[in-house]
Amino acid sequence: MSQPLLTVENLHLAFQTPLGAAQALRGVSFSVEPGQIFGLVGETGCGKSITGRAILGLLPPTAKITAGRIVFAGQELLKLGERERHKLRGRRIAMIFQDPTTALNPVYTIGQQLTMVMKHHRMAAGQELRRRAGQLLADVGLPFPEALLKSYPHQLSGGMQQRVMIAMALSTEPDLLIADEPTTALDVTIQSQILELLVQLQRSRGITIILITHNMGIVAETCQQVAVLYAGRIVEQGQVRDIFYRPRHPYTQGLLAALPKPEQWRQPLKVIPGSAPDALQPISGCAFASRCEYVMEVCRQQQPPLFELGAHHQAACYLYHQVQERS
């Protein structure tokens, strides 16, 4: 296997709140191979978005990384100064967000915003800037790029705005694109257009994408590798087929079982009892223990490590303790 483009190791991150430190990430580790779409999936508050922001170095002032490493293309990001990180951000690592309406500046035209990014990173100058901006808009499937360059964000629909965001992210030819819930604010027919575009970009440009989402359907249809996040830790990771056809962690199994399925019309949906743990409280043992139907004594006492289940398939669950010892 090739060298990973990005490795996150044992990342711990806490928010300072008036009530104390909230542990948002409690030892997140994963690595992303170049040219992949890597899915980071989980429910509200699991830490998926903050992981994306930590990679980019766009953390709010109350967030502090307390331990861990992030290695991108051989460079240890957390050891770099702000100037070096600034050079990477938007240049080699780009990000698109959930709501394109708030991510675009309403007082500048699309053309001004696109060329601003390229000028800043010295990608081009003069006439070339304008030409490239038009080309980028065409690349992301927008019609009439020349007219669009002169338009303001409010003149565009949500789907078109998200395409502009993608064009901006691509303008610096980044190696890694972090897409944080890029279609959550969009309608389903527009969502499938945007997902199709991301898949095409991955194929045609070989760009690596981290797709952050809560939607298991989106993960199944677009990602090759998947990591499932729960309460600030990865509970299971593997190839997309492992996760959907051979889910091993009780949380992954529960998430998939809770989805409505056509063949189970009006039958009770499987429910994960209770709710996610309070990030302000320390967690001893497995964070999922209080909701798990297979909970054992050891689960309440010790945090389970990731156990190997097969090639690139791991689950952080003591149910697989012996599986690994035997193999």
């Binding site: 257009q193 809560h214 359907g217 809770a258 009006r266």
Partner: protein, 323 residues
């Protein structure tokens, strides 16, 4: 079997007025609902699905007369609620209730759970305080909460708990008809499953009739007996839940189905990618409103609006292809 519908909607249209220009001198009319015909049978769940701006929320609200209609009728047990005077409407209100998408914006943050659930009882019944409190506790029990939640305020509840409170409020006056407007869209999947199960269970125990509005086709399919698919203020297809998924007949329904991501990496579906986005309801396309995005568009679609075609029992679609 012919059943008398609980709610009959006849040629219902709703227009919104948008003011633009200096001092709002230019008025635009946006037709949010265009001549809707629909029956809702007692005890059924009628799902309404469509994308933003299709009019699904307006439909739900206009059935309860929460937005004024421009023309048409809404008959609730035979009475046209659009023609009722204030007193009669108020008398009918307890029969029809609504649950909104986000409980944190629909619940008053300054009231605790006891007061929130007791509020409809206070305005519509003459129960004494102790009786009210007992009724509130019983209602909380029905939605899976307990007396320990009585003194909590909305911000002290999780999303799922808050939506349960909104449901208890809606059930307080023993309604017959509930409009559920995206009741689980603000919730995580695992919590969504809890609320959906609760809704199915409450429908059985109380004999409720639901209008279930959602953009999520798999969810609508799970809970509904029949489904109405809406596009730009019109119902383009109406059929049983099974028929919509086995024999979708309108190209828009087919595209919606094909765009809904499935949790199955090898589903092997061919995606139908619709071009463009939904046109503005202020200036809807001529002829068939879907013709600008339809993969099968014909000449007639651009000029003439199609009429409903009956495909099978209780299955109708509005498309020239079916002629």
């Amino acid at each position: 079997m012919i059943q008398t519908p609980l709610v009959e909607v006849k040629r219902l249209s709703v227009d919104y007025v948008i003011r633009a220009g200096l001092l709002g001198r230019h008025k635009h009319h946006i037709r949010a609902l265009d001549q809707i015909d629909l029956d809702i049978r007692p005890g059924e769940t009628l799902g309404v699905v469509g994308e933003s701006g299709c009019g699904k929320t307006t439909l739900g609200r206009s059935l309860l007369r929460l937005v004024p209609a421009s023309s048409g009728q809404v008959l609730f047990e035979g009475q046209d609620i659009l023609r009722l005077d204030k007193t009669d409407l108020r008398r009918l209100r307890p029969e029809m209730q609504i649950v909104f998408q986000n409980p944190f914006s629909s619940l008053n943050p300054r009231l605790n759970v006891l007061d929130l659930v007791a509020e409809p009882l206070r305005t519509h019944t003459r129960l004494k305080e102790a009786e009210r409190a007992a009724r509130v506790e019983a209602l909380l029990g029905e939605v899976g909460l307990s007396a320990e939640h009585l003194k909590r305020y909305p911000h002290q509840l999780s999303g799922g708990q808050a939506q349960r409170v909104a449901l208890a409020r809606a059930l307080a006056l023993n309604p017959k008809f509930l409009v559920l407007d995206e009741p689980t869209s603000a919730l995580d999947v695992s919590v969504q499953a809890q609320i959906i199960n609760l809704l199915v269970q409450l429908q059985r125990s109380h004999g409720l009739t639901y209008l279930f509005i959602s953009h999520d086709l798999s969810l609508v399919q799970h809970i509904s007996d029949r489904i109405a698919v809406m596009y730009l203020g019109q119902i383009v297809e109406l059929a049983s839940s099974q028929a919509i998924f086995q024999r979708p007949s309108h190209p828009y329904t087919q595209a919606l189905l094909a765009s809904t991501p499935l949790p199955d990496p090898d589903s092997g579906r061919t995606r139908i990618i619709l071009a463009g986005s939904v046109p503005s309801p202020a200036d809807p396309p001529s002829g068939c409103r879907f013709h600008t995005r339809c993969p099968y568009v014909m000449d007639i679609c651009r000029s003439t609006a199609p009429q409903p075609h009956f495909i099978g029992e209780g299955h109708q679609a509005v498309c020239h292809l079916l002629e």
